[in-house]
């Protein structure tokens, strides 16, 4: 089906993809509940079709505020990201078919639209506009949980997201002043402008120490909101980094750290959605490393991994969400043995788990290995080592912990019903895509920004990966057997959010108390001074004061004499 055959649809290609979503969101805001789910699924599907058929090039220049904006820059890099964004919007909204919450539904559409708009942005200002759009739209998916905790988390999330946005804006301003161009293209770190932009991307990409909004927010969102959230924001940042900072060496090291440190947190975290958030962070590390290496192979690996990652991570969030939906909790300590009554969900979760772990025949295997190969091609051995370690570690929390502690392990005694049909359908489709990519990687490789010369299914590669995974499981099994595993335990894990949830308020509180004390002392002093002055003035000028007395005539004459005396002295001396 080509655009020529459907004139009505070809007119569609004259519209920026994001602008499909915005009227759609308006429509969703007024449609009755019954009609919203079809719209929410149908619209992204339409958009996916549009993205698929769009010609390459800079399609929609726009003059605004004297700036030349590029709303649609379509090339292979932007197309693959836009495509997966539309796909996941379809799947995510299918998963949320049961939802009757207008706010979440509108937000989901706006969020997806903004993310796609940002991907197609040809200049920094357009990027900024959509960048902030994702921030605003997405917070509603957290707030929609409608609890005190979610509200505060949402506020924190929003501040961090907008911080990223304003950094981008400031960077864009400086970049414009520096280069005379607002084109969003490959940049070199070095000037304040590019550092600001880099930092802006880094926040959304959850760089180490800038990462904690992710683990803070995702477990706080609604069941379906987390699925949507997990897809867009961070991958948009990955896209932006790939576009703007490919080959920036520091990214390799940042990425390496990112792959490693979250795994420890994931291991001991009790909330399964937070475990997944840490795991997400770790997966982003692979992509960031790929961008840092910057070779065609590495960038292909990043794009492919992002594509695959969105799917399997969504699948995992969906399965945990389904459990939460049925049991009311996502805490490992309260779950276990659910395979008995939720076998389909369990199987789908396992598909997600093996995908993320990089088991051959599943999607993770064919994409993650591209990044690893790129690292070893570049002889970055320490980094490569970190990636190998991280690959094994992923297994530990996402590959084993998620399915094992929820669906197997000890029997929690819960016997929840199987997930609703639409959830199973959405998860099934997602799982199918994970498997499809694993079985026929060529389909995905054809979409990648650069031509691909890579064959994941070589014997040594499969064997090496299987060794890594199986012995990892052996280690896990032994640890469980001998009680060395950290196990499940309720609790809160301190992370960098402690800095702004506890330390900063404490420090600021102390500072504020100090300022207040000083201010109070100052105000008291000023008040006392004023009171003294007023007292002084009142004592003299007030109704009882001497100055205000209408003295007897005698004293008047005294004054006359005094003044005369002064006058005489002055006059004589002068």
């Amino acid at each position: 089906m080509s655009p020529d055959t459907l004139p009505a649809l070809s007119a569609l290609s004259a519209l920026p993809t994001a602008f499909l979503f915005l009227p759609g969101a308006l429509l969703a805001a007024v449609l009755p509940a019954r009609l919203r789910p079809p719209l929410l699924v149908g619209l992204p599907a339409l958009a996916a079709w549009q993205v698929w058929t769009l010609p390459e090039g800079r399609l929609m220049p726009l003059a605004l505020m004297g700036l030349e904006l590029e709303l649609m820059r379509v090339d292979r890099l932007s197309r693959i990201f836009a495509l997966i964004f539309t796909l996941i919007a379809v799947l995510g909204n299918l998963y949320a078919w049961h939802l009757r919450d207008r706010v979440q539904q509108v937000a989901a559409l706006v969020y997806a639209g903004a993310a796609i708009g940002a991907v197609f942005a040809g200049d920094l200002i357009t990027l900024f506009l959509w960048w902030e759009g994702t921030a605003i739209a997405s917070v509603f998916l957290i707030w929609a949980r409608r609890t005190e905790g979610a509200f505060h988390t949402g506020m924190r999330y929003l501040v961090v997201q907008v911080l990223s946005g304003v950094l981008l804006l400031a960077g864009a301003a400086l970049y414009w002043r520096e280069t005379g161009s607002l084109d969003f293209t490959l940049m070199r770190l070095g000037s304040p402008a590019t550092w600001l932009i880099f930092l802006a991307f880094g926040i959304k990409a959850a760089f180490p120490l800038l990462h904690n909004w992710l683990q803070d927010a995702y477990p706080a969102a609604t069941v379906t909101g987390t699925v949507i959230l997990s897809a867009f924001t961070t991958k948009l940042a990955i896209y932006a980094l790939a576009r703007g900072f490919a080959g920036t060496e520091i990214l390799i090291w940042i990425g390496a750290v990112m792959t490693v440190f979250p795994v420890f947190f994931a291991e001991v975290e009790n909330d399964m959605r937070r475990v997944l958030a840490y795991s997400l962070n770790n997966q982003l590390g692979f992509m960031v490393v790929g961008i840092g290496i910057g070779s065609e192979m590495a960038l292909n690996g990043t794009a492919a991994h992002a594509f695959a990652h969105i799917l399997y991570k969504a699948l995992l969030f969906m399965s945990v969400g389904a459990v939460l939906y049925r049991t009311g909790t996502a805490r490992a300590t309260e779950l276990g043995g659910l395979y008995r009554t939720m076998p389909l969900t369990a199987i789908l979760a396992v598909i997600g788990a093996v995908s993320i772990s990089g088991v051959p025949l599943f999607s993770g295997f064919v994409t993650k290995s591209m990044v690893l190969s790129a690292a070893s091609d570049a002889h970055l051995w320490p980094v490569w080592g970190a990636l190998v370690f991280a690959s094994a570690a992923v297994l530990s929390h996402s590959g084993i912990k998620i399915p094992y502690f929820i669906f197997f392990a000890h029997d929690s005694g819960r016997r929840p019903a199987e997930a609703p049909r639409h959830m199973l359908l959405a998860m099934g489709l997602t799982a199918a895509m994970c498997i499809a990519i694993g079985l026929a990687p060529g389909l995905l490789y054809a979409l990648l920004p650069y031509p691909v010369e890579y064959h994941p299914y070589s014997g040594y590669h499969v064997v090496g990966q299987m060794q890594l995974l199986l012995f990892g499981v052996v280690a896990f099994a032994l640890a469980m057997r001998f009680g060395l595993h950290p196990g499940e335990k309720r609790g809160t894990l301190l992370d960098s959010d402690w800095l702004y949830r506890r330390a900063a308020p404490a420090v600021l509180g102390a500072a504020a108390a100090l300022v207040r004390a000083i201010w109070g002392a100052g105000a008291a002093a000023v008040g006392a001074l004023r009171a003294a002055a007023m007292g002084f003035i009142r004592a003299r000028s007030g109704p009882e004061g001497r100055l205000a007395h209408v003295w007897p005539t005698g004293s008047m004459v005294e004054w006359l004499a005094i003044i005369l005396g002064v006058m005489l002295v002055v006059v004589y001396l002068a």
Binding site: G149, A330, F408, F471, P486
Partner: protein, 103 residues
């Protein structure tokens, strides 16, 4: 099994019971294969046939040990950030469809 479980669940139960045996077999196979075929080593250590097996085992063990330390160091009560923080609160039930399977 006394419970009346769906067929799929019984299958999974089977898997759970025989998992360790399968794991042992698979691990042995993979290790053997590693020594049997050329690993096209690029990295210095990769040429060792059991490198990945070792890497997997050591990595996982490291993760588990470090994680224990981490919990000792950074673990706090669930309501560390307050009773109404996300960590401590319950997911609002009215947005869920909590249901047990019909026996």
């Amino acid at each position: 099994m006394s419970e009346n479980l769906p067929p799929l669940a019984r299958l999974l139960g089977l898997v759970e019971r025989h998992f360790l045996k399968a794991l042992a077999a698979g691990a042995a196979l993979a290790l053997g294969a590693g020594f049997a075929i050329d690993m096209h080593a690029k990295a210095p250590l990769e040429s060792f046939g059991g490198f990945y097996a070792l890497a997997g085992f050591v990595s996982l063990s490291t993760v588990l040990i470090v994680a224990r330390l981490l919990r000792a160091l950074l673990g706090r009560q669930e309501d560390y950030y307050g009773r109404s923080a996300v960590n401590a609160e319950q997911y609002p039930a009215d947005q869920l469809e909590v249901r047990d399977r019909e026996p």
